[in-house]
Amino acid sequence: MAEAALATRAPAAAGAALLSVRGLEAWYGESHVLHGISFDVGEGEVVTLLGRNGAGKTTTLKSIIGILQKRRGSIVFEGVETIRMPSRQIARLGIGYVPEERGIFSSLSVEENLFLPPQVRPGGLPVERIFELFPNLRERLSSQGTKLSGGEQQMLSIARILRTGARMLLLDEPTEGLAPVIVEQIGRTIAELKKQGFTIILVEQNFRFASTVADRHYVVEQGRVVDMILNSELDQNVDKLHAYLGV
């Protein structure tokens, strides 16, 4: 598989890659999960990782943010090699992470959850802007974090990293298990963030949703990137994509 070729066909419009992943391998304990993932993300792009369950999409995000320590290969963000860094240093470079399980802390109030991640760069969204994006949060500030509904927890999980000044966001299945109305709101939010110049990597099972927000899609299969599809060429590739995803 010509992975390097796939990757270099990448950032269509944008200039040099903001994030560049090459030959990424990762392990959970003894089990080898990623077998050489390579892809690029240009500044201001929204890119999705599509693939079946267990293909390695979540693991890729965890490797980028450094939560998964047992990893090899190369991950370069803004010209800095991060493969040997602990996650706290990677976060400080300006990468914000929204985990699949949302990661809302039950021992913290909504307000404390919102203000937990420290500022890593100047230029984070002001709190007022965050409340415009997620008006529900303003009324629930003093509630316990995990008392929020699933959708509100997802919004809180996104909101808290918008404050930090991170310009690259890793979103792991933000629509999973949520009502269509909420999915729509999250879609609008991602579109709005893209307009503001955020770079986003989105892991999704729901490719219909993905197609409404993304510029490009990488297809992940058994720990490798096997294809890249431009969103503009999605219509011609629907059958191929269905075959990949097994739908």
């Binding site: 996650s87 976060a91 802390f105 021992s107 913290l108 203000f115 937990l116 990293i161």
Partner: protein, 355 residues
């Protein structure tokens, strides 16, 4: 003479006050244990020894440097807290690491320096043993730090058992060294001049110093509770306790938080030691005697619960005091009976969250 339930009021309130004093120490000590257990997931068996060290540092400050009680109240927790930081960085945190070189360097260089100071330079009289020990530990830590890059740890929790064995072993070593140097009969420490005398309330007499201990303990406990539950730093601590991996992924330095927390918990123990010095004599065994009861308090309150350790600390002190009045034979076992009952009915403790 007035009586309540057939007991003279003076005796009743006297015992209640005594219970409250004991409760003050239970509360501060179990609070330190709870803070440490929450974040490090380690049962700090060295706590009693660190409480004893606090009292000894107060005694040393007075006898070697001429610094009195109020200075000791400030300096002893910091000094003992620093030894805690050294232990955490070089031994406790390294339990989670696959690479034990840093711990080895620390232990070997500490022992070598200690022997050099103790034998070579002729620091053989008792009072200098602790100094040689301290120099050894500091030198060991510096050397381990220079020779070895900081290894990031706190990635996962270590089995309780290893932390327990390590801290228990350290407690035995520390207590043994102090017993060698100072014997086990105890050293006197005077109540500070400002707090001598007492108040006569009519129904009872309260020595000023004991009143001070209760007030100081309450203030320290409430301040700690406030910092943990209401401030930004406390939010970091609670987040790191609940999910260290994710907290770290936000750019928060969790290993440093862990070190600071351990140092703080140890500092609390030392503070209790200074408060105790004028009441009980300064004795190498003072911590070992108290710590068993304190562990029972922690279990009853709920492992890791901040409020639980404060409330149960004072509450059990009072219950112990009352038992002394009404059924003195049970006074030394009542806390353990309560512990057994609580464990049967609510295994997570009165204030503990079920896992």
């Amino acid at each position: 003479m007035t009586t309540i339930l057939g007991v003279p009021t003076a005796a009743l309130f006297g015992q209640l006050l005594l219970g409250l004093i004991n409760g003050s120490f239970y509360a501060i000590l179990s609070l330190g244990l709870a803070v440490i257990f929450g974040l490090l997931n380690i049962i700090n068996f060295t706590h009693g020894a660190q409480y004893m060290m606090g009292a000894f540092v107060a005694w040393m400050l007075l006898n070697w440097a001429g610094l009195g009680y109020w200075w000791a109240l400030l300096i002893a927790p910091i000094a003992v807290g620093i030894t805690g930081v050294i232990l955490e960085r070089n031994l406790i945190s390294q339990l989670a690491s696959n690479d034990k070189i840093r711990s080895l360097l620390f232990v070997i260089s500490a022992i070598l320096t200690f022997l050099l100071c103790y034998v070579g330079i002729g620091w053989s009289e008792g009072t200098s043993l602790a100094a040689a020990l301290l120099v050894g530990a500091v030198f060991g830590a510096v050397w381990a730090h220079v020779a070895r890059e900081r290894i990031s740890t706190a990635e996962g929790h270590v089995d309780h058992l290893y932390g327990l064995l390590l801290t228990f072993g350290l407690a035995l070593i520390i207590q043994g060294l102090f017993r060698n140097a100072y014997g086990s009969s105890g050293l006197p420490y005077q109540i500070p001049r400002e707090l001598t005398g007492g108040q006569n309330f009519g129904f009872m007499f309260m020595p000023n110093y004991r009143g001070w201990v209760v007030v100081a303990s309450l203030v320290v406990c409430l301040a700690t509770w406030f910092v943990i539950e209401k401030t930004r730093l406390g939010a970091y601590l609670r987040a790191a306790t609940e999910n260290p991996t994710l907290t770290q992924a936000f750019g928060i330095n969790v290993p440093r938080l862990v070190t600071i927390t351990y140092g703080f918990g140890v500092g609390l123990a030392a503070l209790a030691g200074v408060l105790a010095a004028p009441i009980y004599s300064v004795n190498p065994n003072m911590g070992a005697d108290l710590i068993i009861v304190v562990f029972a308090v922690v279990v009853i309150g709920g492992m890791g619960s901040i409020l639980g350790s404060i409330v149960t600390g004072f509450g059990l002190g009072l219950i112990e005091g009352l038992t002394k009045v009404f059924y003195p034979e049970a006074s030394s076992t009542v806390i353990f009976i309560i512990m057994a009952i609580v464990l049967l009915i609510k295994p997570a403790g009165l204030f503990g969250r079920a896992a």
